[in-house]
């Protein structure tokens, strides 16, 4: 929502483009067959299109709106998302604009009880977290999508039907000039939390509904505070409640506060009430200068997911497959990881480099990640919004103790964003117990300093075998789609990977570790590679 008299996209800092539906000659081929149709050009749909294009696969990308999402919505973009954007070759504008951060501070009744640092070092190419308004996230992705010949993007194009047909799906589209049907081989439903495709397929999200509700409001102001996440527990401005404050680019500040149990959401999102609430928060943090209200919304903390992210030839990606609470900042980050996961897999299957069974690993890997988010987020949610008397008493006890005791303050640490380990994936090999440390099979590759750059800059476009022995790398030279990279034994990378001179790590295109060996043999590596792309039978 925006202040009275302002249009839905009348922003203080962002110029919304307006996109036309397909016009003129372009309309002749609208119903041409497509290998992949992507429904929804939100951040997840655009990322999925870019991930497919990276593998050489063309797609049709459809969105019913004429511009980007109306507000800043998701603002915290994690390191793992930056790694994905980097793999897709689009991270540049994100790095230029976003504000990186590592520190969080929690306050109880105005006194600081905790300062936490998220893991970071010179080995990492990216900071643990970046703040960036969702419009920019979408605009930067769009820049890449618009410049990509393999993506046929169509705005003001609403999907109204997805019916199975022989060997594919018939996708019906309605735009201002008419209706048409695309015969598609595969569909990626990236159409958000209220997914129309989900409804058309007769599927429902399942899980718990948390009652916690938050107002999120963005204000523009000159305010002198570093990019540090601030959490105010039981502050003067909202007795019994919790307030979060984040800095964003363009002098925009996100203020996020919890509604009390009986509080009416409609009343709480009335402009004058939002203004009063924001003013009270700003007074608490000592901001005395002017400020302008940009945008606000109400958000509730749900934990809902589909049982299976695949329905025949339709895959659900991002919010259409899961709705997660905001505390873990996983809504968007999880969606980008979904998009990368299905993007490279479908790309490899459609180009014949992987067997079709690879697609069956999408749900266990990504739904597993969602359930992991639920477990962590429920923990944070219980701290931020205690669901019952018992949780509230213990939370208050911890906060009160935290004024003098560090261990109690740690209970307020949100522990955001460590990527989920695909340990039980059908395409990840059981971990080698021969290692005394390092990331395990199913983990995402930790970055490391190599020369004057980073390990992640030197990986091949497909699978990469990281090894320390040139002989092993030569033995694998004939494997299509896999590139070997020989690292110095004893180097920074070797230490991070706990690797000996005979060790090897097999990395997937999405930077997850498919297998690792403390003492690798070429034939084991080849067998594991073929298992990871479901080509063992060939």
């Amino acid at each position: 929502m925006r202040p009275a008299g302002k249009g839905a996209t009348e922003s203080l800092y962002f110029d919304y483009p307006r996109f036309d539906p397909p016009q003129g000659a372009a309309r002749a081929a609208l119903d041409a067959p497509a290998r992949a149709v992507i429904v929804g050009a939100g951040p997840v749909g655009m990322t999925a299109a870019l991930a497919l294009a990276r593998e050489g696969v063309a797609s049709v990308l459809l969105d019913d709106k004429s511009t980007f999402n109306d507000g800043s919505r998701a603002i915290c973009v994690s390191r793992s998302s930056f790694q994905i954007l980097d793999r897709l070759g689009v991270v540049g504008p994100f790095l230029d604009k976003a504000l990186g951060w590592t520190t969080g501070r929690s306050f109880y009744r105005g006194r600081q009880i905790l300062e936490f640092e998220m893991p970071d070092s010179a080995d990492e190419k990216f900071r643990p977290m970046y703040n960036l308004e969702q419009q920019y996230i979408e605009a930067f992705l769009w820049q890449a999508v618009a410049g990509c010949d393999l993506i046929d993007a169509r705005w003001q194009s609403e999907v109204t039907g997805v019916a199975d047909r022989e060997g594919g799906v018939a996708v019906t589209v309605r735009d201002p000039q008419g209706c048409y049907t695309i015969p598609a081989d595969w569909v990626l439903a990236c159409d958000g939390a209220r997914s129309a495709v989900r409804g058309m397929r007769g599927l429902r999200l399942k899980g718990e509904n948390f009652e916690g509700r938050y107002v999120i409001a963005d204000v523009q102001m000159e305010h002198d505070y570093p990019t540090i996440r601030r959490a105010l527990f039981d502050p003067d401005c909202r007795r019994g409640g919790t307030v979060l404050i984040h800095r964003q680019p363009d002098n925009i500040w996100r203020i996020d506060y919890q509604l009390a149990e009986g509080e009416d959401a409609e009343e709480a999102t009335r402009e004058d009430v939002v203004r009063d609430s924001v003013a009270a928060v700003l007074k608490d943090i000592g901001h005395e200068g002017p400020w302008e209200l940009e945008w606000w919304s109400v958000y509730s903390a749900n934990t809902l997911a589909l049982d299976d992210y695949r329905d025949g030839r339709v895959f659900f990606v991002g919010d259409s497959a899961h709705v997660v609470p905001i505390f873990g900042v996983r809504g968007l980050n999880n969606g980008l990881a979904d998009a990368m996961n299905i993007g490279w897999k479908l790309g490899w299957v459609l180009t014949g480099r992987a067997g079709p069974a690879l697609l069956d690993s999408y749900t266990p890997e990504r739904r597993g990640a969602t359930l992991d988010v639920f477990a962590n987020a429920s923990k944070s949610a219980r701290f931020m919004t205690p669901p019952s008397h018992g949780w509230r008493v213990m939370r208050d006890a911890a906060l009160s103790l935290a004024l003098d005791h560090e261990f109690a303050g740690q209970l307020a640490n949100p522990r955001q964003m460590t990527p989920y380990v695909y340990a039980r994936s059908p395409v990840v090999r059981a971990d080698d117990p021969g290692f005394a440390g390092g990331p395990s099979a199913g983990d995402v590759l930790p970055d490391a300093r190599v020369g004057d750059g980073h390990l992640s800059d030197r990986l091949g476009p497909g699978f990469t075998l990281l090894c320390f022995d040139a002989g092993l790398s030569r033995a694998l030279a004939g494997e299509a789609g896999m590139q070997a990279m020989v690292l110095e034994p004893g180097s920074a990378a070797a230490r991070r990977l706990a690797a000996g001179p005979g060790s090897a790590y097999l990395l997937r295109p999405d930077l997850y570790i498919a297998a690792r060996w403390h003492d690798a043999r070429a034939e084991d590596v080849i067998a594991a590679y073929r298992a990871a792309i479901c080509k063992s039978g060939d």
Binding site: V393, D396, A397, S400, L401, H405
Partner: protein, 59 residues
């Protein structure tokens, strides 16, 4: 702990619960439980004590 020491603790707890004032005794006891648990440094023992203390609450 001797019987006399237990009695000293007993008296101090009674006084502190009264001193916590209206509606705050529960918060005080929860804080105390967290502090004692940390001193004890043994989660199993604490969970045992929690189970013990839950018995006969309705009597």
């Amino acid at each position: 702990m001797t019987q006399a020491e237990i009695e000293t603790v007993y008296d101090a707890l009674a006084a502190a619960i009264d001193g916590a004032g209206a509606g705050k005794s529960e918060l005080f006891l929860a804080k105390l439980a967290l502090l004692l648990s940390r001193r004890l440094g043994d989660a199993t023992a604490v969970l045992d004590c929690i189970a013990e203390a839950r018995r006969h609450l309705e009597d």
